[in-house]
């Protein structure tokens, strides 16, 4: 039959792949666990059936399919795999969305031009600091050690973005396991990452307002580009041919814009910009979003809340006392998630350069201390980011039909003693790396079930 014929080469590839590893089972039953479904009430003693990378069934006292490998999960807790809503994991070379991407241009030293630096940009037409066309999905490194480290910390998924330009490029949702970049990508492009970088005093844009003006012009240009292309496509004769522009192509391919917004002033500014340009915007940072919940709720713009709570720099002069404005900024930032949850603003968490899963959990606990409920915290690590990126139909909660990304822990995630027992990524089980030998070269997946 035709279909069999066509599938032969594929089968060959699959066989080859299987030949390289011990063939793992593709059906599991997680039995008698506490199942935190997120999209539906938690099952105190529930079962989850996994098959072919997907969740097949969720319920109480499910009958184990004949071929399923049964894992007795008594006493364990199953969460949807955690999602880092913005990071550079598996994108070596992409600057983390840390201080370099932060808004205040005045505090940034101007880059010193190397000998072979490009000529100064004379305006928006030179497309300064722009790589809208750069697609994270094309640059995933499956061997990045951070993948295993974060998976061991309960993260099965990350939304990764290039970050080192004003228009840094298009992000991708990736699952944190896989041999090939292609198999890791869940959805792409996830959006366009924007920063408020400047180009120093001798190259446009040389100021924050220059950067904003440039962003505005590029979006206008992108709209015009679409229009001009379509008019030309239907009337090519007698019309001047619109020029091809890779940055406008890239911008038009990006379904949403990630905008930096840390302080209330910046949140306000970005909300206005998004409204003016009719952007489907997502704000990242959010340290002072607690002050701006009303406008955020009204705009419907979601917030990615940085888990790197602002602190007084350790190298600061001890004799210099910070003003109340800054002290409040630091003190109240962990209260943002609770405030957003209360106001009904959609938000997710992002690691913002935190390198250790333990630090991420510590940050989350400060949010809990500041009033965030555990349910809301888990939602902001699972279903909310999936919703924000438009992939809640395939991941983010424990529901039949969704991708089998699960984090299985020894207990409540916010208890210090709780450990990740194992994770499922795309229906495959991964054990944490042995603690003493956690080295980059050991960051390969384990495939055997441990029950």
């Amino acid at each position: 039959m035709l279909s069999t014929k066509l599938n032969l080469p594929l089968l060959a590839i699959l066989c080859a792949a299987r030949a390289a590893h011990a063939a793992p089972p593709d059906a599991y039953l997680l039995h008698n666990a506490r199942v935190v479904c997120v999209s539906s009430p938690t099952l105190e003693r529930g079962d989850v059936v996994i098959r072919k990378g997907m969740i097949e069934a969720v319920g109480v006292d499910l009958k184990a399919p004949a071929d399923a490998w049964v894992i007795d999960a008594t006493g364990l807790t199953v969460y949807p795999g955690f999602i880092d809503a913005l990071s550079t994991w598996a994108l070596p070379g992409a600057a983390p969305p840390g201080p370099t991407a932060r808004g205040t241009s005045a505090a940034q030293p101007a880059p010193t031009a190397p000998a072979n630096a490009p000529p100064p940009s004379k305006g928006p037409e030179d497309r300064p600091l722009s790589a809208t066309f750069y697609r994270a999905a094309d640059h995933i490194s499956p061997t990045d050690p951070v993948i295993a480290t974060m998976r061991d910390g309960g993260f099965t998924t990350a939304v990764v973005f290039p970050t080192n330009n004003i228009f840094a490029g298009q992000g991708a949702v990736i699952d944190l396991a896989g041999d090939r970049p292609g198999s890791m990508v869940v959805a792409a492009p996830a959006g366009q990452y924007l920063s408020m970088k400047t180009n120093g005093f001798s190259s446009f844009p040389g100021s924050l307002m220059g950067t904003i003006a440039y962003i505005r012009q590029l979006y206008l240009d992108a709209d015009h580009y679409k229009l001009a292309q379509s008019i030309y496509a239907s009337h090519p004769q007698g019309l001047q041919r619109p020029a091809y522009d890779e940055n406008l192509e890239g911008l038009n391919a990006s379904p949403r814009a990630l905008l930096p917004a840390h302080r209330a002033v910046e949140i306000d500014r970005m909300l206005h910009l998004a409204e003016q340009l009719k952007l489907k915007a997502v704000l990242y940072g959010g340290e002072e979003a607690w002050r701006w919940t009303g406008p955020l709720k009204q705009s419907g713009v979601p917030v990615l809340v940085s888990l790197k709570w602002p602190e007084r720099p350790k190298e600061a002069d001890p004799a210099l006392e910070d003003p109340l404005r800054i002290l409040e900024y630091r003190e109240k930032a962990p209260g943002t998630p609770a405030a957003l949850a209360k106001a009904g603003v959609r938000f997710a968490f992002f690691s913002d350069g935190l390198a250790k899963p333990a630090d991420i959990r510590k940050s989350l606990k400060r949010a809990l201390d500041a009033g965030l409920s555990k349910d809301d915290a888990i939602r902001a690590l699972t279903l909310s980011p999936a919703e924000i990126y438009g992939i809640a139909d395939r991941t983010g909660s424990i529901e039949p039909g969704k991708i089998a990304n699960l984090t299985v822990t020894s207990g409540d995630w916010f208890d210090d003693k709780t450990k990740v027992k194992f994770t499922f990524v795309d229906g495959q089980q991964y054990d944490p790396q042995p603690e003493d030998t956690k080295k980059p070269e050991d960051a390969v997946k384990t495939t055997e079930a441990t029950n």
Binding site: A106, A107, Q108, A110, P313, E315, D317, P318, A319, P323
Partner: protein, 425 residues
């Protein structure tokens, strides 16, 4: 219109040519005299002869040879003293060639501001037209910047202008500054530990320089063969002997405390310059009799959370703490606005008299010049101004000015330009 009136008035009062010398005697009568040495005298007279004030009082009679100036309805004040200025040391701030206020090198006690003052600077007539008769130009390089001098704002040569070539040795206190801003590169941050290390090193160097000066003085006194003269250390001898005070610029509390500790350690007579946060250290300043040459009152608060009026209330706070202080413009172009720096503190708690004292007698006291200038008293140099009102008010005009007993021309480059273009056809 008014400037003509000023000149016309001045000319009518004084038919003699300006600027010749001080051989003319003057008898000012009918004025309210604010002597700044005891009570004000209404309807009083002042006799000026040979550059000196020969008499002040209510019942003086005019000598036959004196030029009589009828100043009824006018006010007479001592000429004002700008306690910290660039006047004469810089002409156009942005033109390096016209600036002589910052020398290279960390230790320059041998430098003296006085000799680099340009007597032809256009700033001098502009500044004195508002009643400033003397000022203290201060070298402003790094660490030991040089010696501050007191000059008259009139003279054919610097020698004419010189009141005292060395009123203080100016030291810029080493500062811990983690954040610096450079144009056009922007701000740079350095870790505290690193900056602190540099600071300690600089403080050590400063102390060592003073210790070396003591060793030099001893070696010099011993007069052994092989002793070599060193101009830097020669200049240090009057300082370490306590004859010349050190004027240490320090703004923030920590710097001020460090400066006091340094002066204590080296047993120096200290004047604090700048002193933005002197209010935090007022008790210590008072206890050690350290006077302050305040930075402009019309400044912004140091910290975001500081009260908006902190710089305005600081002079009043020092006054109430009993600290001796005066005002400086720390500038050339705005030296003429010195009285308004004093005035700005008055609505915020500084008594009016203390404000005037801060630009006259107290400046003289701080620099040890109060036997010569700063008040209208018999025997003092005749530096005074005749005004139509309170010199602390912007609207007040200086009608006549005497420096060293000589009636000084109030005309200047700006007035000439005004006259010229006002009558442009």
């Amino acid at each position: 219109m008014k400037p003509i009136l000023i000149l016309a008035t001045a000319a009518a009062l004084s038919p003699l040519a300006y600027g010749a010398d001080n051989s003319t005697s003057y008898f000012i009568r009918g004025a309210t005299i604010h002597t700044m040495a005891g009570r004000d005298i209404s309807n009083g007279s002042i006799l000026i002869r040979d550059g000196k004030i020969l008499g002040v009082g209510e019942n003086l009679t005019a000598p036959a040879d004196a030029q009589v100036i009828d100043a009824h309805g006018m006010q007479v004040y001592p000429g004002m003293i700008d306690s910290f200025t660039d006047t004469g040391l810089t002409e156009i701030e942005m033109v390096r060639e016209t600036s002589d206020n910052s020398e290279l090198g960390k230790f320059n006690p041998q430098l003296s501001a006085w000799m680099a003052v340009n007597p032809s600077s256009e700033h001098i007539p502009v500044t004195r037209a508002n009643g400033i008769t003397a000022s203290v130009p201060v070298p402003n390089g790094s660490l030991i910047a040089g010696r501050a001098s007191m000059i008259h704002l009139d003279g054919w040569t610097v020698d004419d202008m010189d009141l005292n070539p060395t009123v203080a040795l100016h030291i810029n206190m080493p500062v811990i500054r983690t954040r610096t801003f450079h144009f056009p590169e922007g701000a740079t941050e350095r870790p505290f530990e690193e900056v602190h290390k540099d600071y300690l090193k600089e403080l050590q160097e400063l102390n060592k320089f003073f210790d070396d000066a003591h060793r030099y003085e001893k070696a010099k006194a011993a007069n052994e063969p092989g002793f070599e003269t060193d101009l830097k250390f020669e200049a240090m001898i009057p300082v370490i002997d306590g004859k010349v005070p050190v004027m240490i610029t320090a703004m923030r509390e920590r710097e001020i405390r460090d400066a006091i500790a340094f002066a204590d350690k080296q047993k120096l007579r200290m004047i604090l310059a700048g002193g933005a946060e002197a209010w935090k250290v007022a008790a210590e300043l008072k206890a050690r009799n350290i006077p302050v040459v305040l930075r402009p009152t019309l400044s912004l608060p140091e910290e975001e959370d500081d009260p908006y009026d902190k710089p305005f209330t600081t002079p009043g706070e020092l006054y109430r703490a009993g600290v001796l202080f005066s005002f400086g413009s720390y500038d050339a172009q705005f030296s003429r606005n010195l009285p308004y720096q004093a005035a700005a503190a008055v609505p915020f708690g500084l008594p009016h008299d203390a404000a005037i004292a801060g630009v006259t007698i107290n400046a003289a006291k701080i620099y040890g010049m109060d036997k010569k200038v700063g008040s209208i008293e018999e025997g003092k140099i005749a530096d005074l101004m005749i005004t139509d009102g309170d010199p602390l008010e912007e609207q007040t005009h200086v009608k006549q000015l005497f420096i060293n007993g000589k009636q000084v021309d109030l005309n200047n480059r700006q007035l000439r330009l005004y006259e010229k273009y006002k009558s442009r056809p």
